[in-house]
Each structure stands twice: as structure tokens, then as C-alpha cells.
Amino acid sequence: MTALVRRALLSDYFVLGLCVLYAAVVVPFTPSFLSVGNGTNILSTLFPLLIVALGQMAVLITGGIDLSATAVIGLTSIVGAMAINDETGWLAGSPLATPSGVVIMLAIGAAVGMFNGLAVARSGMPPFMVTFASMTGFSGLAVWLTHSKAINALPSAFVVLGGRTGVAFGIALAVAGFAHLMLSRSLLGRWLYAVGHNPRAALISGVPVSGVVVSAYVVSGFLAALAAVLYTGQAETGSPVLGQRIFLDIIGATVIGGTSLSGGKGKVLWTVFGVLFLKLVDNSMNLLNLSIFTITMAKGAVILLAACLDSARARLGTP
């Protein structure tokens, strides 16, 4: 029995099992939980969260944290909308508006990531402080750009990117596949884990620690911007405060999946399951007609439980 529990806890599919168990428990109380409409609804909000969580996972694996992910979402959302909206956009009416807008958003996200990475790697400042400062600064910049105003009238080709679940699924699948390849098959992936386990040992072993750290933050910024493309498309509006409140979801989903806050541990599949579990909890609590206060407290409890399980798994996994 003990061996079975140990195997279950250490399995890659542990959180998926929790998802199935959770769904089985809530279905009798929420009949519409298993409706097609609700399934599509869960998926449409799951994909952008998955993308930004995968970026956060890359940073967490190195032992860092990227608090600026939500600021990147807001900043890139509003800059993208400023560029491509059909009324006042710099690229209004151009057939290249949508691809150019996406490229601009991704470039800004990567640039913010580069800034964070260089500050962490070169100055030796704690990632928490660096990314907290950039979160504050870039959030302020996003709000200042339009004085807090949201922008709509986005091209339909752009709206489709986030608004159609199938398209968002394709993008998320491609990102997850690429991230999996990077982590499991590439040298950069091995370096990320090495830096997260022990940066000093990694440096002595010839790993370019600074470059690896910068890469992780660039990936995080880039993927936060990609998530912003989907979120903006869903809302059909660029907003400087888009995604401002989802940081708990990003960290929660990543940690629930099993990525360690201490670094050196994390898998794409774990994050997929973590995001799925968090969305199932969120969605079912709405369907149960619980108040926002109850939902927030329950999510906090679930994340705490996940952290406890993570620590139990770490203990079990230690020889």
C-alpha cells in the first residue's frame, strides 16, 4: 500500500489523477460541468494560461521567479492594440497589421525578458526584486501609454487567434511541444536544470550560467507576450490591465503541476496538468455558485495543499 502511494505521488500523472478525481467529485453537484459548452469554455481560458505558465516554469527551473509576466501581458496587449486597431492604429488597414502586431508584441515581451535576465544574471540582484521592479515599471508604462484606456476595433484576423479555441489549441500545442523538446532534448534544457540544481556547480562544469538565466527570462517574456495575443484576441480589446490579476493562477498552476519553487525541477506535462487542475477548480466553483470570497480562499487552500504535496514528493524522491 505504501509503495502504491509512493508510486502515485511520484508519478508524472499524479496531478492528472487529481483532475479526474476532482471532476468525479464535483460532477454530481454541477451537471453542466460536463457540457460541451463548458468544456470549450475551460479550454479557451486554459490555453493562454498554459502558455504563460510554461514561460514561468522555465524561470522557476533556474531557481528564479518572474513577477513581471502579468505586466508583460498588459504592456504588449496595449501596444499591440495601439499598433493594429482599425481606427487609430499605426498599421490600420494594412494587410500586414495582424502579423506585424504579433511580432511587435512578441519582440516587446522578449525585450522585457532580456532586461530581467540581464539584471538578474549580471547584477546578481535577487530575481524577486528585479522582476518586482520591472512589473511595477512596465505596468505603469502600459497604463501611461493610453492613460488607462482600453482599445478595441482590432482586426478580425487578430481576434481569431484568441477567440477561436481551435486556433488557440494549435498555438498552445506547438508551444508545449517546442518547450518539451527544449527541456528534454536540447543542451539548453539540460543547462536550465543544472543551473536550477546548483548554479555554482554548473558554472564549474562549464555551463554558461548567465546566458542560461537570460534565456529563461527571455522565454518567459516571449511566452507572456504570446499569451497576451490570445487574451487580447479573446477580449477583442487591448487593455493595459489585461492579465493583471492572474499571477496567482500562473504560479499556482505551475507549482500544482510539480515545478519546484527551489529550482531544478519541472516538466511541460506537469504544467499542463497543473493548469488543467486549476482551471477545473476555478470553473467548477463558479458553476457551484460560490462567492468570489469562497473561491479565492479555496484556491489559496488548493495551492497550499499542492505546495505540501510538492514537499512530500520531494522528500519521497530523495534517496
Partner: protein, 334 residues
């Protein structure tokens, strides 16, 4: 790699395939009673809580069921919640959106499902999305409130420096209140000198820092208008820190005006610290929201905007008007 992609794909497919194709509605409308989805952007201020509770009480009185959703200021989460309500086949949706633009896809989704949508106190931008908004005339009420403050300043007979706390200018109500303030002080330059326009984005910390900064730059500010009463604790704290929080009639009193009519404003009016506030009639708006849904369901023509006339309450009419002020009722329950 293969297993990861396969698992991801299977997880998504399983979620959809495992779903019941019938899209089972949750609490169906029975015995003529309706199920109404109430989706609020936030419950962080007394006004929204009072509105939420007024709608809840109204629905309870009618024997209807309320499905609630609060998005914690997250537009994408609110879109998900509205889609949830649509999936559950509610009979109508009362929505307080984050702003005038992000609600458009929500309204379109409800339109597509033929579910009437009423926007409570925060209208949407012009578009082809069909909805009804119940909203106070922010501009007129603010103009009247600030007009009262200007008249009081004029009675004192000397020029007054003024500060205005602006809300989130992505919120059309905040824009209306800003415009109402500007309209009231326009042409009054002989008595009013606006020296500070403080952006708060509906944030108390920003409001407090802004008022402190304004008072440092202009210690002789004599009039402050807040675009919402919920910012008064920040203003009071800033005034107290520089020893300028005095009752009407006392030397050094700063003329104070606000908007909403919450319990704090009522108490400040009663205690003599607040001069005037524009009151939104939350109970009127709640009742009209439900009536609009009923009318839309009955196929009646409903105007796109239903105005809450509201009123200005000040020291002169406090006794007469306080019974209609929602903040006074909230204060009485405390």
C-alpha cells in the same frame, strides 16, 4: 516528446468528448421563475456590494434564482464567467463589466444565445452588440454637486484652490464625472483655481499619495472633489496628516464633495465634514435592471440607456433626502 503531445491532445479531446452533448442546463427556469446570472467585475467598494445585494434582494422577492460570478477585475475571467452563465442557459444576465470595451464579446456571446443582457451602472461602447444599460447621469449629477461646492466657495468670498480626484478613465462613469467637474468649474475661474488633477485609477493608495502630494505642493487647497465616495478614507487621512480636516464652519475647513452616496459619505455629512455628494439610486438601478430583462424577454422595446436620475445630497437637504440615500441604509445596518 510523442507522449507529451499525445497526452496534451488526449486531455483536450477527452475534456470535450467526455462532455455531455446535451449541454445540460443547471437550474432551469421553473414555475415561471427565472434564473438570472449576475456577473460583477468587483465587490471591492460599498457601492458594488450594495448593488449586488439589492439585485439579490429583488430576485429573491420575485422568487427568481440568482447565479453569481465576480471576476476580481479580470476581463478574461469575466468573459469565461459569462460564457459559463450562457452554458447554464440563464434567462438573463446582469453585468457590471470591467470597462466599456472588454464587455463587447460577452454581450455578443449572450446575443448569439438569445439571452438578454443588462449592464448595471456601467454602459458599453457603441457597437452592434445589443444590451441595455441602467446608469446614472454622471455628468449632470457631478456638475450639480460641484456647482453646490462652488456656490459655497463663492459665499466665503475669496478665491479657492481646488483638487479633483479622477477615477479610472477607462471607465465611462469616471469620464462623465471628470467632465461634470470641468463643466461646473468652467467660467468660475474668478473663484475656483484647479491646481491638482489626481489620477487614482480607483485605487485608494494612489488617491492618498496624490492628495498628500497635492497638499504639499499647495497647502492652501480649499476644495476637493472625489469622483467616488469610496476614496474618502484616503482623503480624510491625507487631510488629517496636515491638520486640515475640520467641520463645516470651522476655520480651515476644506470643502469636500463626492459621488456615489455611500455609508462613509453619509456619516461624514452627518458629522459635518462633507459638504455634498451625488447619490446614485442603487435600488432604482437594481429594480430597473430586472424590469429591463423582463421587458426584453417579453419582446418589448427597451431603450438602450435607462437613466437613474439620482440626486445631490448636502447639509441643507440631509434630513429630507437621507431616507433615499443607500449609504444611509447601509450605515443603519452597521
Amino acid at each position: 516528446m510523442k507522449s507529451t503531445l499525445l497526452t496534451l491532445t488526449l486531455a483536450c479531446v477527452a475534456l470535450l468528448v467526455g462532455c455531455d452533448k446535451s449541454d445540460t442546463p443547471a437550474p432551469a427556469a421553473t414555475n415561471g421563475h427565472l434564473t438570472i446570472g449576475v456577473a460583477f467585475e468587483t465587490l471591492q467598494t460599498e457601492y458594488w456590494v450594495a448593488g449586488f445585494e439589492a439585485i439579490r434582494a429583488d430576485l429573491k422577492q420575485r422568487g427568481d434564482t440568482m447565479l453569481e460570478a465576480v471576476s476580481d477585475s479580470d476581463a478574461n475571467r469575466q468573459l469565461e464567467q459569462v460564457k459559463n452563465l450562457i452554458t447554464r442557459k440563464v434567462d438573463g444576465i446582469i453585468l457590471v463589466p470591467k470597462d466599456a470595451k472588454t464587455c463587447l464579446p460577452m454581450i455578443k456571446a449572450a446575443n448569439a444565445a438569445n439571452i438578454p443582457v443588462v449592464l448595471f451602472n456601467r454602459p458599453a461602447d457603441k457597437s452592434d452588440a445589443r444590451s441595455v444599460a441602467i446608469v446614472a447621469d454622471n455628468l449632470a449629477l457631478t456638475r450639480e454637486t460641484v456647482g453646490y461646492l462652488v456656490a459655497e466657495a463663492r459665499k466665503a468670498g475669496k478665491k479657492v484652490k481646488a483638487a479633483v480626484l479622477l477615477g479610472d478613465l477607462g471607465d465611462i462613469n469616471a469620464v462623465g464625472r471628470r467632465d461634470g467637474f470641468d463643466a461646473a468649474v468652467k467660467g468660475q475661474e474668478d473663484i475656483i483655481d484647479v491646481v491638482a488633477r489626481i489620477p487614482t485609477e480607483w485605487n485608494q493608495e494612489k488617491a492618498q499619495a496624490g492628495v498628500v502630494n497635492a497638499l504639499q505642493a499647495n497647502p492652501d487647497i480649499g476644495l476637493i472633489f472625489s469622483s467616488s465616495d469610496f476614496l474618502f478614507p484616503s482623503i480624510v487621512s491625507a487631510l488629517k496628516s496636515v491638520g486640515k480636516y475640520h467641520k463645516t464652519g470651522e476655520p480651515g475647513h476644506v470643502l469636500l464633495g463626492g459621488f456615489d452616496g455611500d455609508a462613509t459619505a453619509y456619516q461624514m455629512l452627518k458629522d459635518g465634514y462633507l459638504d455634498a455628494t451625488g447619490v446614485q439610486d442603487v435600488y432604482f438601478e437594481a429594480a430597473q435592471s430586472m424590469q429591463a430583462i423582463l421587458d426584453l424577454r417579453a419582446g418589448k422595446t427597451v431603450p438602450e440607456v435607462i437613466r437613474d436620475p439620482g440626486f445631490v445630497i448636502h447639509r441643507g437637504n440631509l434630513a429630507e433626502k437621507s431616507a433615499q440615500m443607500w449609504g444611509a441604509r447601509v450605515a443603519a445596518k452597521k
